[in-house]
């Protein structure tokens, strides 16, 4: 249980690669923070710096207000779960979990208590006498978590702990980590490249790209108000649609014009744009698939599109459309309300019409790629 504070933390590897630039973040006690971003963005590097497995090139790292830059991993009181589990192959599951306690000279009966207790929580009691090679991936993952759990460490670090599991097991373990988190009640830093994991697990999400933090916020914040194109595209599945459009300033109000449709912005949006003194300009309009209404017939301010691909997902259809501007658009269409004729009309090349209200629109500057309203 501890707070973690990174101030201007930088990592330059021997080969002059700067993996992390000026990382600033304050993690509160008992907070669950997720680092998310594409491969190579520096998530693991940052986590390993917190763990003490990598030197910090510049900046300071504090745990509980104490600068720990120069402390060895074993003196930082942290626990870590590795992506590939890193279980000691020559020890039984029991010995694996007990290892750190025995090093700390914890009395053997307390070791027994803590190990069996952790095993109980994780449901691995019956495997305690086995060696890791006799376990399945999911069971190994539990042992790895158990090994970190018994330590009662100040900070719990996890580097892509679920990425070696198949999709079904991953969902199950994700739910278990949420439960575990409630039981442990400690500070978590969790690394993943999967935005779903980030959204479901995190109190706060740190979205990274090329060694820079792009945005920090609660799942709701980063979903509703992405500050730039990258975050907008990274969070949400299917991805947000990006359309070429124009922002028009007319008198006291603004509107967005796209392929003949003209959608006036709402008061809040007008106020922000006016406050920033923005005039008419080209923009990239972002709209999430789930915020788009699909019409089968032409309507006012609806954008005409052609169907490219029609993906049946069960409860809904994912339609891949293209507009006259050649923008690629994905929309979601619930299947329950569709009539048979409507279903049949969803063939390749058919025309569809889409609309969306002003409040779901995200406006990005094509040059800076920043959000005009939330950036």
């Amino acid at each position: 249980m501890a707070s973690v504070k990174l101030t201007d933390v930088k990592k330059i590897y021997d080969n002059k690669v700067t993996a992390v630039h000026d990382f600033n973040l304050e993690i509160k006690d008992k907070e669950f923070v997720v680092f998310v971003g594409p491969s190579g963005c520096g998530k693991s590097t940052t986590l390993r710096m917190v763990a003490g497995l990598e030197d910090i090139s510049e900046g300071t790292l504090e745990i509980d207000g104490e600068v720990v830059n120069d402390l060895q991993p074993k003196d930082r009181d942290i626990a870590m779960v590795f992506q590939n589990y890193a279980l000691y192959p020559h020890m039984t599951v029991y010995d694996n979990i007990a290892f750190s306690l025995r090093l700390k000279k914890v009395p053997e009966d307390e070791v027994y208590e803590r190990v069996t207790n952790a095993a109980q929580i994780l449901g691995i009691t019956e495997y305690l006498t086995r060696k890791p090679r006799a376990l399945s991936g999911g069971q190994r993952q539990r042992v790895a978590i158990g090994r970190a759990m018994v330590r009662n460490a100040k900070v719990f670090l996890m580097d892509e702990p679920l990425s070696n599991l198949d999709a079904k097991l991953r969902n199950q373990m994700r739910a278990e980590i949420i439960l575990l988190r409630q039981k442990l009640d400690t500070t978590f830093i969790y690394v993943t490249h999967d935005q779903t994991e980030a959204m479901t697990l995190g109190d706060r999400i740190v979205i990274m790209k090329d060694g820079y933090i792009e945005q920090v916020g609660t799942p709701q914040e980063v979903f509703d108000t992405p500050v730039n194109l990258f975050v907008a595209g990274f969070i949400g599945s299917p991805q947000m649609n990006f359309l070429k459009a124009k922002l028009l300033q007319e008198g006291s109000g603004y509107s967005v014009e796209i392929l003949g449709a003209k959608i006036p912005l709402n008061e809040d949006q007008n106020a922000v744009l006016k406050g920033k003194n923005i005039g008419s300009q080209d923009i990239i309009l972002g709209v999430r698939p789930e915020h788009t209404t699909v019409l089968f017939d032409r309507a006012d301010n609806a954008i005409e599109c052609t169907i490219n691909v029609n993906e049946m997902m069960g409860s809904e259809l994912h339609l891949h459309l293209s507009s006259a501007n050649d923008d690629r658009i994905i929309v979601r269409l619930p299947t329950v309300d569709l009539t048979k004729e409507q279903r049949n009309s969803l063939a390749y090349g058919s025309r569809m019409y889409i609309t969306f209200p002003a409040k779901v629109m995200h406006l990005f500057d094509p040059e800076t790629e920043r959000s005009l309203i939330d950036g």
């Binding site: 991993p73 074993k74 890193a86 279980l87 000691y88 192959p89 750190s100 090093l103 890791p132 090679r133």
Partner: protein, 299 residues
């Protein structure tokens, strides 16, 4: 249907010359086996014969099996050969050399693998280079050097246990480090990092995590070095001398090979005695060599 049935027959017909070749190969292999085993077989047979018998007819079958025990008893009671003391010296030298070589080389290899600096590379390459220097090139300088060092430090290096063990460490290290190096590169670094986080010291990480994982290759290193050191004749001859107080079994066996009198029956039986421990050790270790491989820790 008929076509299908025909196919296997064709194949069988086609395999006839193939089978002939196989039998020839097997015969050749067997003859080679006999050829290579011949010295060993001669040793066994001749250790069951009398000296006169052997001199009369070097290759021959034993006529009286009881002769074997008489030979052994003669060796046992021979005061100059002194089998027990030779056995003791051989065991002391082999066991301590093996312990020193395996521990030092595994530790050195670990450090060389895990510290990725230019110097680690250079040092490692020096060890590899040392493997190709023939022993005969360095054996005489070695003696001079040992005498100098011994005089300088006041620790006798010639005719002493520490001297020959130190020499074995030097000669055995290069190959052992090479073998360990290759193996340790395959040990996942995450295991050591996990141990680090779990609170292990550097030494603790080596002895509790790395060393147990090295078990299969450790056995290999022990067997290779063990065979060599146990059977070695030249280095003990140079460092310990043929008339010193410390005598390994190969040196002692050579004692029967006098300039004027060669006691062949004793040479043969003592050679057999000398081979036995190492053969037993090898059969025992075989199980471990085949058995263990690291798995399960990382996917």
């Amino acid at each position: 249907m008929a076509k299908q049935a025909a196919a296997p027959i064709e194949r069988m017909a086609g395999s006839k010359p193939h089978k002939g070749r196989q039998i020839t190969l097997e015969i050749v292999t067997f003859l080679l086996f006999i050829l290579f085993m011949m010295p060993f077989i001669i040793v066994i047979f001749n250790s069951m014969r009398t000296n006169a018998d052997i001199i009369n007819q070097p290759v021959g079958l034993p006529t009286d099996l009881g002769q074997f025990w008489r030979n052994i008893t003669e060796i046992w009671n021979n005061p100059t050969f002194n089998f027990l003391s030779a056995l003791r010296d051989s065991v002391i030298i082999t066991v301590i050399s093996l312990a020193v070589i395996s521990i030092f080389s595994s530790m050195a290899a670990w450090v060389l693998v895990r510290n990725k600096t230019k110097w680690s590379n250079i040092i490692f390459l020096c060890y590899v280079a040392a493997m190709v220097i023939p022993f005969q090139v360095v054996m005489f300088p070695l003696l001079t050097w040992f005498r100098t060092v011994g005089d300088f430090l006041g620790i006798p290096m010639l005719r002493s246990y520490q001297g020959i063990i130190f020499a074995y460490l030097g000669f055995g290290e290069a190959m052992s480090i090479f073998i360990f190096h290759g193996f340790i590169k395959g040990v996942p670094l995450e295991l050591e990092e996990a141990a680090d986080i779990d609170g292990c010291s550097r030494a603790g990480t080596f002895f509790r995590i790395v060393l147990p994982l090295l078990q299969p290759v450790f056995v290999t290193v022990l067997v290779l070095n063990g065979l060599w050191i146990w059977n070695d004749y030249l280095l003990p001859l140079l460092v310990l001398g043929s008339s010193g107080t410390i005598r390994t079994i190969p040196l002692a066996v050579q004692g029967f090979n006098g300039a004027y009198v060669k006691q062949w029956h004793l040479i043969m039986s003592s050679t057999l005695l000398a081979m036995l421990p190492i053969i037993i050790l090898y059969l025992f270790a075989q199980k471990y060599i085949v058995q263990g491989m690291v798995d399960g820790s990382i996917k």
